[in-house]
Symmetry: C2
Subunit: 247 residues, 2 copies
Amino acid sequence: MTAAQSTSFRIDCSYCPIRHRAVCAKCEPDELDLLNRIKIYKTCPAGQVIAIRGEQMDMVASIVSGTAMVTRSITDGRTQMIGLLLPSDFIGRPGREAAPYDITAITDVTLCCFRKRPFEQLLLDMPHVQERLLEMALDELDAARDWMLLLGRKTARERIASLLSLILRRAKLPEALAERDCRIELPISREAIANYLGLTIETVSRQLTRLAKDGIIRIDGKRGIIVPDVAELMAETGDDSDGGVIA
Amino acid sequence: MTAAQSTSFRIDCSYCPIRHRAVCAKCEPDELDLLNRIKIYKTCPAGQVIAIRGEQMDMVASIVSGTAMVTRSITDGRTQMIGLLLPSDFIGRPGREAAPYDITAITDVTLCCFRKRPFEQLLLDMPHVQERLLEMALDELDAARDWMLLLGRKTARERIASLLSLILRRAKLPEALAERDCRIELPISREAIANYLGLTIETVSRQLTRLAKDGIIRIDGKRGIIVPDVAELMAETGDDSDGGVIA
DNA sequence: CGCGTGATTGAAATTTATCAAATCGCGTGG
DNA sequence: CCACGCGATTTGATAAATTTCAATCACGCG
């Protein structure tokens, strides 16, 4: 956590919207009390840099609201998005000094922060937090590996279809996916999509229009996408029929 | 763990070559005793399938010796290597029924196996194992994300250089990297390299000969590579000067 | 000695990136 | 209210990188 945040406050954990999914998901009331006492809320405006690779991190945090992106770059500016942080996702790595990636707020972001040292101590005392952190790390690992398949082997069209289908699955209830004309709002710009998919902006744009021409999607303004038939979109992802999800 | 293994035996943990790096690294002697009682050694010959994505896994295991590869594939046979398993690496995921990836032995492999249920129970009772598992998962996550940068943004030449430099760093002591004419043995075939780097066999082959023509490497038989100047190779990886490692 | 697998090389095709220009959306100031 | 300008997006033409298809080569082994 490098950059200054604009505000700092605290609310009670019992009202916390990410209570059941964040690192604290498995905590008992007394453990929650302890967390409550040492946490600090901070907010970052959209666009603000939350962490810079290689710089000192003295905080860890959960995302309470908003979206942030995790990126890595090489010398000449090429950058790859490595993860998307949504509410309940965790930032920071116990037992490491420097931030391993760059993190930038996409929308305004609210963070539930802990100073790193006390948090590390707390991990040892509170196995529930460590258990949950392990679960979350393994889920992220699965997601990262799915993405490796996409980046290493999928065509531009398949990448776009995969992204759209990912967003659909995250945004909609499973039963809603059977309906016709599902509408989603892209949470990120074309540039961010390109960085996510390992493509250029132009290729992203072209593949979107091509999918539209083929009737797989309809484009509705800059950020809106309407999917007439989700199954048809899924068929374009290149994945096996299960859509990458294990039964 | 799906496939049948050829042999099954047990040796004492105190002689275990991966004792200090595997999931049991942080265990006290009494904890080790407990592990010792419930572990089973198994071996797989080179080429054998160790796990198949989607199939039931009733074992978790550490790699004691040998090398295995973790892959994911899509419908038409395109496959992406998602990880390389070396001695001390862990196979299996607590709290999940089905294997999330395919795993294949590259060389003969010796595994230190635990039945999944008892191991899961043991995780709760032995925080040292869980701590270590978390560390290992986070390290793997970092590795997966580095690889995402490679797959999404690097050129074929940079990918090859990155792989060679990765193997160098794994195989040699840091001080040996300063020497001239470092020799490494590629642990995997051209096809496996291609699947690792998200390229075709032919591109791998061409880039290797091109790097050789440019004097960055010398090719020494099918599997041997001699690197006259490691720094020069590192400069071809596209990474910042730190070579992707955080201080 | 010939066979087979894995690796290399070559030529053509395809995909994606790059460079350049046009368009769109939208808030601002006149 | 409307023209202006800016950033983001789309579109077009061309170039570059990588894949694909097809041969050839190298080498270990029966």
